[in-house]
Symmetry: C2
Subunit: 238 residues, 2 copies
DNA sequence: CGTGTTCGTGTCCATCATACACTTATGCGA
DNA sequence: TCGCATAAGTGTATGATGGACACGAACACG
């Protein structure tokens, strides 16, 4: 720890053993009526061929969140998403070969922006409904559970749900989103009353097109107002 | 972990560079009318002589929480406390000499159980009020801020506050605790109504002694009931 | 122009949150 | 022992919020 000298080229030598440090990303996306998670097929051992979370090792001089974003782009093409640290998993035996500590992140992505068809895309990335996940590598099932639990908890007092919707959305879409995340039905009139009273969505003068019923009005999220309120310690609950 | 001996220098060679992984603990305790945090004086460089959070490097085959508990006992004598993972700090430059990723934990301890007098105890551990912290090593001030924010958020929907009180407490002590954590005054009657309606505290038939005013009834936290409710997905709010 | 489908809207009631003040119990000292 | 100082313990009234509930309006399509 104290007297550090540069290692010989291509080798890194330490006085004490060090675990490897990785990041893993749970990317959640909203489909018509369920939440999906983005998985990739592992191309290398261990767990070669199994489905796993996108992720990888942290670079020598790279921040943790930076590493998570880099891996997301490299493995799935997804950039510019809401990303937040979730939990760090470090049980000694979570990787069968050597000690790996994984800092997990969770991300919320608009499915529409990233239409991967399962199995066809880059190295086999695909969206999988949470209700029927395939067998997963390592402890990745646990990590997904933790991410969903966090989302469910957080969505009730912070408007992060908007990250899962397109920039313009109908109130019915927003309600559906909450119903899917919270796993219960909500009353339409009460929901609209509540959401509009929070004053965080702005009515646009656009409407849905191409639907064979009365077109719904489109709204957008007022992020500036939200940021201002948060800065002043304001609290919500949905 | 117990019979661990340092390997000969230079034994640990890796193909890729690896950051060191540490744990740091923010131990919060309740004093008469403020929250305090437990700090130790660093005996080694970097930041030798500065105040810092108790913590240290994770053992080769040691879980993260296990490492946090071990360091707490070693550096402060505190065992058997509420301990929960907080956040992982990994900016490349948070340690001036080499890359260290730190998994932060926060703990809640009853001050009465651990009466350290500042500066006298093992290697100089001491309780410091949050309102006037000394200069701290590394990014430890940031870590403390995160822990306090987490406590403030969590105390509103989970009864973790009880961890800061002795096994038998008066409702006024409990109210004071909430006032200190939430930084606002609460109405006595409303607070009691609320707490008693949650049905998580049990009236004992003991009373305060040695006070020069009407003795208050002592209560205890019903942990069994709480655990049962949590298991069934019950929710609180205080 | 009729039919199918979703949009958009208001009221009533129960529950909960908040504001607010006096009597009771105890220890201590005069 | 009596009074004083101090904190304990208790109820009600009012406003705010949450939840149940049903129907006419708009639009596409055949």
């Amino acid at each position: 720890m104290s007297a550090w000298t540069p290692p010989p080229p291509g080798r890194h030598v330490y006085e004490y053993p060090r675990p490897a440090v990785a990041v893993d990303c749970v990317v959640l996306g909203l489909d018509t009526d369920d939440l999906k998670v983005l998985l990739i097929r592992r191309g290398v051992d261990p767990w070669k061929g199994a489905w796993a979370l996108p992720g990888g090792f942290v670079g020598e001089r790279e921040g943790l969140e930076a590493a998570a974003r880099r891996e997301l782009v490299e493995e799935t093409g997804i950039g510019e998403v809401f990303l937040e640290q979730l939990y760090t998993f470090g049980e000694p035996d979570r990787d069968p070969r050597h000690r790996v500590i994984s800092v997990a992140y969770y991300a919320l992505a608009k499915l529409s922006d990233f239409k991967l068809t399962a199995g066809t895309d880059a190295a086999g990335a695909g969206w999988h409904p949470l209700s029927k996940l395939p067998a997963l590598a390592f402890d990745h099932a646990t990590i997904i559970d933790a991410a969903v639990a966090r989302l469910r908890g957080k969505v009730r007092y912070a408007p992060i749900g908007f990250e899962l919707l397109p920039p313009r959305f109908t109130l019915t879409q927003l309600q559906r989103l909450y119903e899917i995340i919270l796993e219960r039905e909500l009353d339409k009139r009460n929901f609209r009353k509540k959401i509009l009273s929070l004053d965080l969505v702005i009515e646009t003068d656009e409407k849905q097109t191409g639907v064979r019923h009365r077109a719904a009005r489109l709204y957008r999220f007022d992020r500036k107002k939200y940021d201002r309120l948060v800065k002043h310690g304001f609290e919500f609950a949905i």
